[in-house]
C-alpha cells in the first residue's frame, strides 16, 4: 500500500498551528512528525495542511436538474475548492423527503467518490410547509440535518412540532429564514438601490423575524437550530444574544454575503440575484465581525448552479443563486482579516460538527484519523476563469477576479481527489 507523505507544511487543526509532516496509509493518517518518509512524498512547503473543508450548504441539483449540476460535477467542484464533505440541500426533484431519495443521493456521491455527499432531509413533505416529512425514518437512514432550504417553514405550530420531534431524534434543524409574505416577488435588498431600480425589495426584517421566532422556539423546545446563510446585521445580533443565553443555535454565512453588496444589481446582471439578496455594506461589516467573533460558526457556500438559459431571463424571472464551492477559500482569505486556525474552524471543524460528521471530517490531524485533508497555499493567487471551473454551470459572480489562496491538493479517505490543483477523476 502506498504511503503518502505531506512534507514541510504547516498543520492547522483545532489545536492550533504547528509544523510537521503527515503520513497517510490505507485512508488514514498514520504518523505526524518530522522528516517522515514515504512512497509518494508531496512538498507542502509554504502550504497549510488542514482537515478538509465541509460545506453545510451545496445545491448539487441531482436528482431533477442535471442540466445545472450533477452530484459528480458538484463533488468535483467541491474537491477543487478543498472540500471533503458536502451537505446536499434537499430541494431536488423529487425532494429529499424519503429514504429512497436520500439513499440515491448518498449512493451517487459514493459513485463519484470525490467527497462525502451528506444528504440533508426535508423538514416537511415536499418542502411544502404543510406536514412533517418522515423525520425518524430519515434519521434512521443517517440524516443528521433537516431543512426546507429555499423556503422557510412558515407555520409556527409546524416548526414547533418539528423542533420537538427532532429533539427526540438528536438531529439539527436548519432554517432558511424568510417570511414569505414579506418577500413576494422580491428581487434584491430593500434599499435605496432598489428604490431607484424599481425592483421589488426583500426587506431585512423578513429574515430577522424568522431568526427571532426560531430562537424563541429553540428556547422553548431545546431543539438544536442552525441558521442558514444569514445576511443582515440584525440577524447577527439576534444570534449573538441567543448564544449569550446559552441556546443551542448555530449560524452560517456565505462568501458572497461577505464580499458583494446590493449595488451589484445596478448592472442588471442576473448572476448577482441570490436569495437572501446581497445586502448593504453595513450588513457585510456586521457579518464579517460575526465570523471573527465566533457568533457565526461556519462559512457555507450556498453553491447554486444554474444553466445559462435560466440566468438569461429577466432579473425578476431568473432563479436566484450563484456558484461558490471553487471560490470560497479565495473569498474568505480575501475579505476576512482571519487567522488560519480560525479559518479552518469555520470552514471545516465547526461545519463538520453541525452536520454531525465530526467523527470523519474536521478532525485533528493525528494517527487514526480518516485522511480527509486539504493542502492549500494561502499566498498563491489565481484568476477565476468560468471555463476552467469544474461545476457544470458558469454562474460565478467572481469572473476575472484574482483570488488569493489556492487549493493544491485534496485528499478524501486517503486518496488524492485533487493533486497539484487538478481533479484526479
Amino acid at each position: 500500500m502506498t504511503r503518502i507523505v505531506l512534507q514541510g507544511g504547516t498543520i492547522v487543526d483545532s489545536r492550533g498551528e504547528y509544523d510537521g509532516d503527515v503520513a497517510i496509509e490505507n485512508g488514514r493518517v498514520v504518523e505526524v512528525g518530522e522528516n517522515l518518509r514515504g512512497d509518494d512524498v508531496i512538498d507542502a512547503t509554504g502550504c497549510i495542511v488542514a482537515p478538509g473543508f465541509v460545506d453545510l450548504h451545496a445545491h448539487l441539483r441531482e436528482p431533477g436538474k442535471e442540466e445545472a449540476e450533477t452530484i459528480e460535477t458538484g463533488s468535483r467542484a467541491g474537491a477543487k475548492g478543498g472540500y471533503t464533505a458536502l451537505v446536499a440541500m434537499p430541494n431536488t426533484d423529487p425532494p429529499q423527503d424519503s429514504v429512497a431519495v436520500i439513499d440515491f443521493v448518498r449512493e451517487q456521491g459514493k459513485r463519484a467518490g470525490l467527497v462525502e455527499v451528506v444528504p440533508s432531509g426535508c423538514i416537511t413533505l415536499g418542502r411544502r410547509g404543510e406536514a412533517l416529512a418522515p423525520m425518524a425514518e430519515l434519521a434512521a437512514a443517517g440524516v443528521r440535518i433537516f431543512t426546507d432550504d429555499g423556503s422557510g417553514v412558515q407555520d409556527e405550530l409546524l416548526m414547533r412540532r418539528a423542533m420537538e420531534y427532532g429533539k427526540g431524534l438528536g438531529i439539527t434543524l436548519a432554517q432558511h429564514c424568510e417570511v414569505a409574505s414579506l418577500t413576494k416577488g422580491a428581487v434584491m435588498n430593500e434599499c435605496q438601490c432598489c428604490t431607484s431600480l424599481g425592483l421589488p425589495g426583500w426587506p431585512s426584517i423578513a429574515e430577522e423575524l424568522m431568526v427571532y421566532r426560531d430562537i424563541e422556539l429553540a428556547r422553548l423546545t431545546g431543539a438544536r437550530v442552525h441558521f442558514l446563510h444569514l445576511s443582515t446585521a440584525r440577524s447577527v445580533e439576534l444570534v449573538r444574544a441567543a448564544k449569550h443565553d446559552g441556546l443551542p443555535v448555530t449560524a452560517e454565512v456565505t462568501p458572497h454575503h461577505l464580499s458583494l453588496d446590493e449595488t451589484r444589481l445596478t448592472t442588471f446582471d442576473t448572476v448577482y440575484k441570490v436569495n437572501p439578496p446581497l445586502r448593504s455594506p453595513r450588513d457585510i461589516a456586521a457579518l464579517r465581525a460575526g465570523v471573527l467573533d465566533g457568533t457565526i460558526d461556519a462559512l457555507a457556500t450556498d453553491h447554486a448552479p444554474h444553466p445559462r438559459r435560466d440566468k438569461e431571463l429577466a432579473l425578476d424571472q431568473a432563479p436566484p443563486g450563484m456558484l461558490g464551492l471553487e471560490t470560497a477559500l479565495g473569498v474568505a482569505l480575501g475579505v476576512l482579516q482571519i487567522d488560519v486556525a480560525h479559518l479552518v474552524r469555520v470552514m471545516s471543524i465547526n461545519p463538520a460538527r453541525i452536520a454531525g460528521i465530526e467523527d470523519r471530517h474536521g478532525r485533528d490531524i493525528e494517527p487514526g484519523a480518516p485522511a480527509n485533508l486539504v493542502v492549500f497555499d494561502p499566498h498563491a493567487t489565481w484568476q477565476v476563469v468560468p471555463e476552467a471551473l469544474a461545476s457544470k454551470s458558469r454562474n460565478t459572480p467572481y469572473v476575472g477576479m484574482t483570488m488569493r489562496g489556492r487549493v493544491r491538493h485534496t485528499l478524501f479517505n486517503g486518496a488524492f481527489t485533487v493533486r497539484d490543483g487538478e481533479a484526479q477523476r
Binding site: 430593500e190 432598489c194 424599481g198 438569461e312 429577466a314
Partner: protein
C-alpha cells in the same frame, strides 16, 4: 449616444441636446408632407412584451417619418411562445440586420440585457417600474413649450400617485430635477418606494398641502390591482385623498398646468373631465410624443454625422 435606456445614462447634456433636436422635428411635423429621408435604409424593430398604444404607435410613426424601415415584433405570434429565449430572439433579429430595438418589457433591466446581446442600439420604451426615458423627454419638452422656458429653475413640479410602481415617475424625477425643478412627490407611504432619501425630491403625504405652491401638477395612473395588494384600502378612498377634482383644481395657482402620462383612470385619479381644464397639457403630451421619438431615433442612428443630417432634416 449608442443607447437610450435611462435618464441618468443620458445625462443633462444629452437631455438638453434631445430637447433642442425635438424642436427641429416639430418643424418637420408641421410640413404638408411630414417626412424626411434622414434614416433611409435604417431598420427599427419594436419589441413590445407589454401592451402599449401611444408609445408603440408614436415610435413607429417617428421611425416612418424619418424614412426608416420598421418591423413590429408581436409576442403573441412569435417564437417566444414556442419557448425561444429572449436572447435567441434578439440574436435572430440582429442577424437580419437591424439598427435599433425599441423595447418594452414588464421586467426591470431588460434593455440592458438586450444591449449585451446585440450590436444594434437599444431604446427603452419602458422597463418594469424602472425607467421610461422617452416619456420623460416628452414631458420635459411639453413643459418647455407650454411655459416657454429652457430650464425649470424655480418651478415646483408635484407628482401625485403610485410613485412606487411607476417608471414614469422614476424617469421624470431624474429629468425634471436635471433641468432645475423642485420636485414634490405626493402619495400615501404605501405607494412610495422604500427609501427616497437620496432622491432630489420633497415628499408629502397630503396633496392639499402642496397644491397652492405647485406650478405643474403631474398625475399618475393608479392601477386597480394596487387595492388587492393592500397598498390602498379601496379606490374611493384613494380618489378622495389623492384624486383631482374641481375643488383641488381651484386650489392651484391660476398659472398652474396639469399633466398625465396616460392612460387615465377617470373616477380614480382624475375626477374631473380633463378636456374641461383650460390648463391641461395632456393632449400636448400625446402630440409631442412623435417629435420626441423622432429626435431620439435620429440622435441614435444618424448621430455620427448629426450636423449634416440636421441640414437634411431642416430642408
Amino acid at each position: 449616444m449608442k443607447h437610450l435606456r435611462s435618464i441618468d445614462e443620458l445625462g443633462s447634456d444629452g437631455l438638453l441636446r434631445l430637447l433642442d433636436l425635438t424642436n427641429h422635428m416639430v418643424e418637420v411635423n408641421r410640413r404638408p408632407v411630414p417626412k424626411v429621408p434622414a434614416l433611409r435604409g435604417r431598420t427599427v424593430v419594436s419589441l413590445f412584451f407589454e401592451d402599449s398604444t401611444r408609445t408603440r404607435l408614436s415610435f413607429e410613426t417617428a421611425a416612418k417619418r424619418l424614412s426608416a424601415d420598421t418591423m413590429t415584433f408581436s409576442v403573441s405570434t412569435s417564437s417566444v411562445n414556442k419557448g425561444e429565449s429572449l436572447r435567441d430572439t434578439v440574436e435572430t433579429i440582429t442577424d437580419m440586420g437591424v439598427d435599433a430595438f425599441v423595447v418594452r418589457h414588464k421586467s426591470t433591466g431588460i434593455p440592458w440585457q438586450i444591449s449585451d446581446w446585440t450590436t444594434a442600439s437599444v431604446v427603452n420604451a419602458g422597463d418594469g417600474w424602472h425607467q421610461h426615458p422617452t416619456q420623460a423627454l416628452v414631458d420635459c419638452f411639453t413643459v418647455r413649450e407650454a411655459l416657454g422656458k429652457e430650464r425649470f429653475d424655480g418651478l415646483t413640479i408635484t407628482i401625485v400617485g403610485d410613485i412606487k410602481h411607476s417608471r414614469v415617475a422614476r424617469s421624470n424625477v431624474a429629468a425634471f430635477s436635471m433641468l432645475g425643478a423642485n420636485v414634490v412627490l405626493v402619495a400615501p407611504p404605501t405607494l412610495l418606494p422604500p427609501d427616497v432619501s437620496h432622491w432630489p425630491v420633497e415628499v408629502s403625504y397630503r396633496l392639499d398641502d402642496v397644491l397652492a405652491r405647485t406650478d405643474i401638477l403631474y398625475m399618475l395612473r393608479l392601477q386597480s390591482e394596487r387595492m388587492s395588494q393592500g397598498h390602498v384600502p379601496n379606490l374611493r378612498e384613494y380618489a378622495e385623498t389623492y384624486g383631482l377634482d374641481a375643488l383641488r383644481v381651484a386650489k392651484l395657482p391660476p398659472h398652474a398646468v396639469i399633466m398625465h402620462p396616460g392612460p387615465m383612470n377617470r373616477g380614480v385619479e382624475m375626477l374631473i373631465d380633463p378636456s374641461a381644464l383650460p390648463n391641461s397639457l395632456i393632449h400636448k403630451q400625446v402630440a409631442n410624443g412623435v417629435s420626441v421619438r423622432m429626435a431620439v431615433l435620429f440622435d441614435l442612428l444618424a448621430g455620427e454625422s448629426t450636423a449634416a443630417n440636421l441640414q437634411q432634416v431642416a430642408t
